[in-house]
Symmetry: C2
Subunit: 232 residues, 2 copies
């Protein structure tokens, strides 16, 4: 509840983006636990718990940043509970590999959003999220795990590629609802995706920019698929 940074008013949309990420980390934390039953052994279960614990640290960091910016963290998260819960509800992994692919894809999208925060938020917030980005990038171990499994059993590539496509498809359809309901957030994120050419904020143009953002996300997603030995 320090108010040191509250004086510097965050650009509209930044509080939204921090709230979105905070709830995303919190719900991922709990959802990762659902995958515990799919883990092939105790060591894998322990590693899964480690990934979840990292999500919790990110949640705490975002919660503190929101409070420092003078926002009510729970109020900031509120608008994103329904779309994120819906995404998780529609993408429940049925196998251990599906849960690894979901973790990697989800962390990747979160990483893209963290970078947007880092570009547009105050220096303290940018500094704080930088740690989350670097930890998110440690997820490379997960990609290696999937790639190894696919190399050992190439029949897995087709179903897992399809699964990854569904993960992103469901994310985009939830993102469209969020973008329509939160135009300032959409503007901010679109700005991040297009190097600042959107600008005005809140208008119809931003929804078009959001399409460009989605194109960008899809492109990043293709790179992530490749890292896992899958195809779009």
């Amino acid at each position: 509840m320090t108010e040191t940074s509250a004086a510097a008013q965050p650009p509209s949309g930044v509080v939204d983006l921090l709230g979105l990420l905070a709830y995303a980390e919190l719900v991922s934390f709990f959802r990762l636990s659902d995958a515990a039953g799919l883990a092939p052994d105790l060591a894998a279960k322990g590693e899964l718990a480690g990934v979840a614990a990292t999500e919790y640290r990110h949640y705490r960091m975002l919660h503190e940043r929101l409070a420092a910016l003078g926002a009510d963290p729970e109020a900031a998260m509120g608008p994103f509970v329904e779309p994120l819960d819906a995404w998780h509800g529609r993408t429940e992994p049925r196998t251990w590999l599906e849960s690894l692919v979901k973790t990697y894809v989800g962390d990747g999208i979160a990483g893209d959003f963290y970078r947007t925060v880092a570009e547009h938020a105050d220096a303290d917030t940018a500094e704080a999220v930088r740690g989350a980005v670097s930890e998110t990038e440690r997820a490379e171990a997960v990609a290696v795990r999937v790639r190894t499994a696919v190399q050992e059993d190439p029949k897995l590539a087709g179903p897992l590629s399809l699964w990854a496509r569904r993960l992103v498809g469901e994310a985009l359809s939830q993102a469209q609802l969020v973008a329509a309901a939160r135009p300032e957030l959409a503007a901010l994120v679109a700005q991040g995706a297009t190097g600042g050419e959107s600008g005005e904020g809140g208008g119809k143009g931003d929804l078009a920019a959001v399409s460009r953002l989605f194109a960008g996300l899809t492109e990043a997603h293709s790179a992530r698929l490749e890292a896992m030995g899958l195809s779009g």
Copy 2:
């Protein structure tokens, strides 16, 4: 995987006790997440995640200690998977308050076991578990939460007391199975409970000592019930 302490052979039973606690922390971590759906609001959900993250830190610490003692951490946890899973399976909380009572009771029993480790293990291990004990004792905030709820609605005291009794009853019946299967562990824990008068290890006398241990646990449990404003 350091082997600095591997030279000092741990007393028989210590590896068992560390394995038991390690799996207990790991499974608690995942099981706490199941209670997320019961949380009354986002802030409570966040606090629950914080408790789970602490359990994960304890799990990591125990895992590292087992490796440092030259034990295979997963092998050490193995014998306790079934009884601990069975306990959780028989004690699934149906309300938020039931999950708080379960957390407090479970952490309390874990704390008793940590103290036994601290008494009998090598200095490095004793030092490492001391941190876990002090964090476990921070659970007092949970007791205050339950006590406040019971003061506001005294009708809750009866059903929650019954619930707490069931938690311990189910724990004792699993503990009996474990004690019969792992006599060296039983001897060690009984020794802790009786101030060292059991001693010999592995015989029938230790099973009698285990009964005294259970009496001790039940006594500690009564004190914990009182802290929550409940009765035995």
